[in-house]
């Protein structure tokens, strides 16, 4: 009855709250996860932070503090290095636990959503039950989207691995052939993203457009469901290395063409917004009966799917053209820069979401 649905809704809500508050890697108990309250995570973070500060003034460090001038800096350095290693190790362990928790929560979340949907269909929410819309996308989540979230999560993980590999490869001065393999692999990985986005778009284009599947900082730069290719070109250009005059000209033309295509698409989107608004608003606003307008608007929404696909096509074409203009090594540097750029944005989002709130 109503209570069962409420129970599911509350559990789902708690998962969202907990995941939101984890932010950076946090230490938490595995079994108590679903019932854990938020302060636990932030407390442990602070504790670990204090530990590294304390040890420099603790018993181990105490005796070394008053050593002779000559050896004092070296000991301090060695101690700091050890602390760093320890902190890094702890960080890796926390990250591992965090990722494992996310995986199991995703599964639990899926189950809850399915049960919630079933319960919702059996009940009348209109008669004063809990407001499911508070849960954000949960209440209206289409099945294909849960799949997308999982696939996208995997995609990001793989992306980070590839970025690390590319970094190592460029530092180690590997041969052209091996580098080419890495570059092609990396390009294909981006094309994979556009493919899974296309599938998601068929299910729920509003979801894609909202950018809710991206981190907060990435969302700030959202343009028709993803990044703006001309902006990325601007950011990446200094990182390719030395370009020939021909390459510079071609890159410049690419950026300009991309900008023009983006502008045209943006204006097309504005027209679509206008048309959708007019469609929704036809007839008497206030008459209370609006099924025909809703149905007409549903047809217009199909155009939105085409726009998102078009924007992704633009992103893919830009990547391909850039790869054509550059040498293997230049492309590798560009892909590394691109990978790390997004890593930094995601890191910013993590940091932001785990920073203390300003008082309301």
């Amino acid at each position: 009855m109503n209570s069962t649905s409420t129970q599911f809704a509350v559990q789902t809500n708690m998962i969202y709250e907990t995941i939101h508050q984890v932010g950076m890697w946090g230490d938490f108990k595995v079994d108590g996860f679903l019932n854990t309250s938020s302060p636990l995570i932030l407390d442990v973070e602070t504790q670990l932070g204090n530990q590294s500060e304390d040890s420099s003034h603790g018993t181990v460090g105490g005796s070394l503090k008053y050593d002779q001038e000559g050896s004092k800096p070296v000991d301090k350095v060695l101690r700091r290095l050890a602390q760093n290693r320890e902190a890094a190790r702890k960080s890796r362990l926390r990250k591992k636990a965090y990722v494992q928790q996310l995986e199991s929560s995703k599964i639990r979340l899926l189950q809850l959503e399915q049960e919630l949907e079933r319960a919702r269909q059996q009940n009348q929410y209109a008669s004063g039950g809990i407001d499911v819309s508070q849960l954000g996308y949960t209440g209206n989540l289409k099945p294909g989207i849960a799949t997308f979230e999982m696939e996208y999560g995997n995609w990001v993980e793989e992306q980070n691995k590839q970025t690390t590999e590319m970094r190592k490869a460029l530092q180690s001065h590997i041969g052209e052939i091996e580098l080419r393999i890495l570059v092609d692999c990396s390009m294909r990985h981006y094309f994979d993203l556009f493919r899974i986005k296309a599938n998601a778009g068929k299910t729920d284009v509003f979801y894609l457009m909202s950018g809710v599947w991206k981190t907060a900082a990435e969302r700030f730069f959202l343009w028709i469901g993803g990044f703006r290719p001309s902006e990325l070109l601007k950011i990446l250009t200094p990182h390719f290395g030395q370009l020939t005059d021909q390459q510079q000209a071609e890159a410049g033309n690419l950026q300009q063409s991309c900008q023009q295509a983006e502008d045209a698409l943006s204006l097309g989107m504005e027209k679509l917004q206008q048309i959708l608004a007019e469609t929704i608003a036809t007839g008497q606003l206030g008459e209370g009966n609006y099924l025909p307008q809703i149905n007409a608007a549903m047809e217009k929404l199909e155009a939105l799917v085409r726009f998102v696909n078009q924007a992704d096509h633009l992103r893919q074409e830009t990547l391909q053209q850039m790869s054509r203009i550059l040498t293997t090594r230049q492309a590798a540097r560009g892909l590394l820069a691109l990978g790390e750029y997004f890593e930094r944005l995601r890191a910013l989002s993590s940091q932001w979401s785990s920073s203390p709130c300003e008082s309301a």
């Binding site: 063409s257 023009q260 295509a261 045209a264 097309g268 048309i275 155009a303 078009q310 074409e317 053209q321």
Partner: protein, 101 residues
């Protein structure tokens, strides 16, 4: 089919469009930005619009609009136009049609 080819060959630059189609509008805007004024044929304002639509689909335009013809030849839809533009091959095709204002 005949009407399509006739319109395409009579006007150097043709976009088969629908007035409600926002991607058609997008392609039109892009061409304006590039300095050309294509002849836009709105299918929803043409009594033979349905037939033209069928013909375009037969010719390979799955959308079927926008369908862009340059110099009497079918270039394609939005995808093809964007790809051409990014690869730098659209401007040369448009050169004969620049309007000098």
């Amino acid at each position: 089919m005949d009407k399509v080819m006739r319109l395409a060959s009579e006007n150097g630059l043709v976009i088969f469009s629908k007035s409600s189609c926002c991607l058609c509008y997008t392609v039109n805007i892009l061409f304006s930005e590039l300095g050309v004024s294509p002849y836009v044929h709105e299918l929803d304002q043409d009594p033979e619009g349905k037939d033209i639509e069928k013909a375009l689909i037969k010719m390979g335009c799955s959308a079927p609009v926008p369908a862009v013809f340059i110099g009497g030849k079918l270039v394609g839809s939005t995808n093809e136009v964007m790809s051409l533009h990014l690869s730098g091959n659209l401007m040369p095709l448009l050169k004969p049609y620049y309007s000098f204002n």
